[in-house]
């Protein structure tokens, strides 16, 4: 067990524990704040996989953007912190079937996936490679994604104006 293993388990523990807290917590603002640690842990895992660009994009998009928006939404919504989140058990049989199927699919993909077991020995910057790929091979998809985001933006603005 070397240092990278310890760091990996640390980040994995942060991610899993905070994700558990997000789901089980009854206070919605607490859930949103725990999500911060989940995103942060995932970013750390990306760094260990030598995906430097993805790790920082994870931080900038999820922590700097989505989480802050989420918190704003939660905090600006009137009396949302007083809402009691109801937890109970209904429709036991269909739920068990659905969850069982989903868990089976997840488990199958976990077992069958070709996992990278060793930490990358030699890391190199990935930004340039990603940029070249996006602009040359996946240009159409890249631009289409941009248009989809633009549509969402215009839609949000037009709903807000009403």
């Amino acid at each position: 067990m070397n240092y990278y293993d310890i760091i990996f388990y640390l980040f994995a523990a942060v991610t899993l524990l905070s994700a558990l807290m997000v789901v089980t917590n009854r206070n919605i603002v607490h859930s949103a704040f725990y999500l911060l640690f989940t995103f942060f842990g995932v970013a750390g895992l990306y760094v260990l996989l030598a995906a430097d660009f993805i790790a920082i994009v994870q931080l900038i998009v999820y922590v700097g953007g989505i989480l802050i928006l989420l918190l704003f939404g939660v905090m600006l919504t009137n009396k949302i912190t007083n809402v009691e989140i109801k937890t109970g058990t209904i429709n036991l049989v269909p739920a068990v079937i659905g969850i069982g199927l989903f868990a089976g699919a997840l488990l199958a993909s976990v077992i069958n996936a070709p996992w990278k077991i060793n930490i990358a020995e030699k890391t190199f910057p990935t930004t340039k490679i990603l940029g070249t790929l996006l602009i040359q091979e996946y240009l159409l998809i890249f631009e289409l994604l941009g248009i989809i985001l633009l549509i969402a933006l215009i839609g949000a603005a037009s709903i807000a104006r009403k």
Binding site: Y3, V29, H30, F33, L36, F40, D52, F53, I56, V57, L59, I60, V63, G64, G65, L67, I68, L71, F72, M75, L76, P125, T127
Partner: protein, 357 residues
């Protein structure tokens, strides 16, 4: 690099890593905060025709030391209805966010925590933690002034991040690198090679770039000023409206953490400006070490110049604080969305066209 030096000295990955990680804090941020708080009070005093702190030590130079001792002794008050867990995490998170930026800032060509390829992008990303910490502090305080201050602060930081990123993007586009070390190394000695004067290549492009670099610098200075919540953009902690914003409920060392984070942030944004536009750690007038043929003197000179330029911009921030009145919320948002972002965008396009020449 400094990590290799400590690794050769101690032979342990853990010890050398810890030392390198803590070095900016103990060698720089804590002394800087002590100095900057005193400087701020002295600047404020002299601008208002007062003397500032005078009692502790010669002309009050030990005032901040006395203040720190007072803060350590203070009782740590947590009100009954505060959200205990997040109330305690928030100051740490805020400080961690601003301290994380120092990991990639090159203080001199050898004093650099990590030379990562995505330096400037990383700095922009980790400042997101500061916003989350501020929101957490405001919400956990369970106090309307704190919450309002936190919301204003987060809205302001998020809006002013856009012009900052646009200007950073134009520099990255021009130089083709995001590493803060490479950005500093490119602008080699003598001040006319700095990016504000069009970069190190002497051709037509350099002279065309100068006015647009100046515009870019002014925009990024204004927006970083707003990102660290300084006057004229200090509505998050407007004393006359909100007591003191998101840290109203904090006392003792937790308050000190916010204070430290604020001063660390002030230096971090000044350092980023220096690296982007003013040559980073490069000396403006050539190195004494080269003239006298003493190679080990060069990194020390670089360290001096970096600190000097950084503190100069921190001083300008203080100067503006005691000169300008505070903006209203609507004026603040107008300034960002209607003026800074369009100008920054056009500036980006023009710099792009020039860099194609």
């Amino acid at each position: 690099m400094i990590y290799d030096f400590f690794y050769n000295l101690t032979g342990s990955v853990i010890i050398s890593g810890t030392v390198v990680a803590l070095l900016p804090l103990f060698a720089f941020i804590l002394p800087f905060a002590l100095f900057a708080v005193l400087l701020e009070r002295k600047v404020a005093g002299h601008m208002q025709d007062r003397l500032g702190p005078m009692r502790v030590g010669y002309h009050g130079i030990l005032q901040t030391v006395a203040d720190i001792i007072k803060l350590i002794q203070k009782e740590d008050i947590i009100a009954k209805d505060n959200d205990k867990l997040f109330f305690n995490i928030a100051p740490v998170l805020t400080f961690a966010g601003s301290y994380a930026a120092f990991a990639v800032i090159p203080f001199s060509s050898i004093f650099l925590g990590a030379d990562i390829d995505l330096g400037i992008f990383y700095v922009i990303a980790v400042t997101g933690l500061v916003v989350a910490g501020i929101l957490m502090a405001g919400w956990a305080s369970n106090n309307k002034y704190s919450l309002l201050g936190a919301m204003r602060s987060a809205a302001q930081i998020v809006s002013y991040e856009i012009p900052t990123i646009l200007i950073v993007l134009s520099i990255v586009m021009l130089t083709g690198t995001m590493s803060l070390y490479d950005l500093s190394e490119n602008q080699t000695a003598y001040f006319w090679n700095w990016n504000i004067f069009g970069g190190p290549n002497l051709d037509i492009q350099k002279f065309l770039l100068i006015p647009f670099m100046l515009i870019g610098f002014i925009i990024i200075y204004i927006s970083t000023l707003a990102e660290v919540n300084r006057t004229p953009f200090d509505i998050p902690e407007a004393e006359s409206e909100l007591v003191s914003g998101y840290h109203t409920e904090y006392s003792g060392m937790k308050f000190a953490m916010f204070f430290l984070a604020e001063y660390a942030n002030m230096f971090a944004v000044s350092a980023i400006l220096v690296i982007l536009f003013f040559g980073g750690y490069q000396s403006p007038l050539g190195y004494l070490g080269n003239t006298l043929n003493i190679p080990w003197l060069i990194p020390i000179e670089q360290f001096f110049w970096f600190i000097f330029k950084g503190i100069f911009f921190v001083f300008v921030q203080m100067w503006l604080r005691w000169t300008l009145p505070r903006l209203r919320v609507d004026q603040l948002m107008t300034a960002s969305w209607k003026y800074l972002i369009p100008i920054a965008f056009v500036n980006l396009l023009i710099i792009g066209v020039i860099s194609l020449i």
